[in-house]
Symmetry: C2
Subunit: 267 residues, 2 copies
Amino acid sequence: MPDSASLLSDGPAIVLVEPQLGENIGTAARAMANFGLKDLRIVNPREGWPNEKANAAASRADHVIARARVFPTVEAAVADLGFLLATTARSRALAKPVIGPKEAAGALRGRAETAIRGGILFGRERIGLMNEELSLADAIVTLPIDPDYASLNIAQAVLILAYEWRLSGFSDEKAALPFGRPDDPPATKDEVLHLFEHLESALDAAQFFRPPERRPSVVESLRAMLQRASLTGQEVRTLRGVIAALERRPTRPREREDGSLTTERGD
Amino acid sequence: MPDSASLLSDGPAIVLVEPQLGENIGTAARAMANFGLKDLRIVNPREGWPNEKANAAASRADHVIARARVFPTVEAAVADLGFLLATTARSRALAKPVIGPKEAAGALRGRAETAIRGGILFGRERIGLMNEELSLADAIVTLPIDPDYASLNIAQAVLILAYEWRLSGFSDEKAALPFGRPDDPPATKDEVLHLFEHLESALDAAQFFRPPERRPSVVESLRAMLQRASLTGQEVRTLRGVIAALERRPTRPREREDGSLTTERGD
């Protein structure tokens, strides 16, 4: 009985059925590695195994290639699985549920969480999976491709399913990203307000607001623009330097008696 | 001013910045075609343009290659866009929002619906995008890859974004799939009930239920199994034939006086 922690960390088994080209095995391994899948199974690869072209195409996904297992038949490759999906790009007469990659990932993750090992069958380059191979599966997975141009290769299909598998492990997309916006903290409302006042007093001095009745609406529009930019504290300081430079004032902020900074004259 | 119908049908502009290999342009075009994108722009391709290797790798995505436009600079390639995203695999010091492919697709579709042309920048094979190119963008897109193995090629990044663009045009994943379960209609409850009764009377005759007190729970379990299979009408008829064959009864259903079918004897 597998444990759910190792199933969740390895991801579902990716079973390539009779792939013709080593290169496709390598690019599929790379797609797996990109999204954290580790269990690659290959049924009767035409070029034999190990395969130099697979290694070359796998780029740095050596760990997936090194762990890959070769089986003589599909039945042997899926024997230990409790839940099996099969990919196909064409409608088949089989009366099985047809699901998309997101639902597939959710179903596989649900099984893994209850210690049921799942896998996905991927067919041969040209002819896909045979009906008797499809009949082993609990459901058919297909991708939401443009029906006018259905020509996804194996590694691309593996990539989309691996991508959805990885996403399914996070509460939302943002949590799954490897990095976020650099954490330069946003400016406080006080810093932003001082920027507004600095800009507006500089514009008053330059007699920018003409006629004066229009001042309130122009001020409002300038403030809206700056607000929308979600400035960081550093950016506010940069902009105050810019305004000061245009005013021909000293750009180095000075400390006020109360400890706050200013670039204004005679404060 | 572009119209929203053509923006929605062409999809966002895919801008490849100084791609080194024609093959990558071709596989990117193919990824676009799979998910219905049409506007490919190439900035200063190293091998020149047109490119035989791009054509070969594009497979049947000739229509994307034929419409592709080449520009001398990134600025020229994005000049007509009102919303621009830039892909990067590494965290950068730029203070810009960082979003995932799903949010990116939603943002691009929202713009297209209001007739704003959007696009996505993809960087060079090895070194990605320069900081001054990233600074043209409204936001950074990155993919939820495994940080221990970040090595997505251009066509793979295009594929994921094109996939999310296509999904974003449908109310749910199921609606985006090119086909569903074959529409052999599900069995009616009446057909299923007659199957249950047929099976149970055959098992009664074979004295399967022993001790007889266990009959109700075994019947319940058999019915649950069959119910879970969501049988079609055709499958129910097949199973009744199977039971009749095992009973050594005639397998051809006969018509009753009321017009219903039966495989039972002496009805």
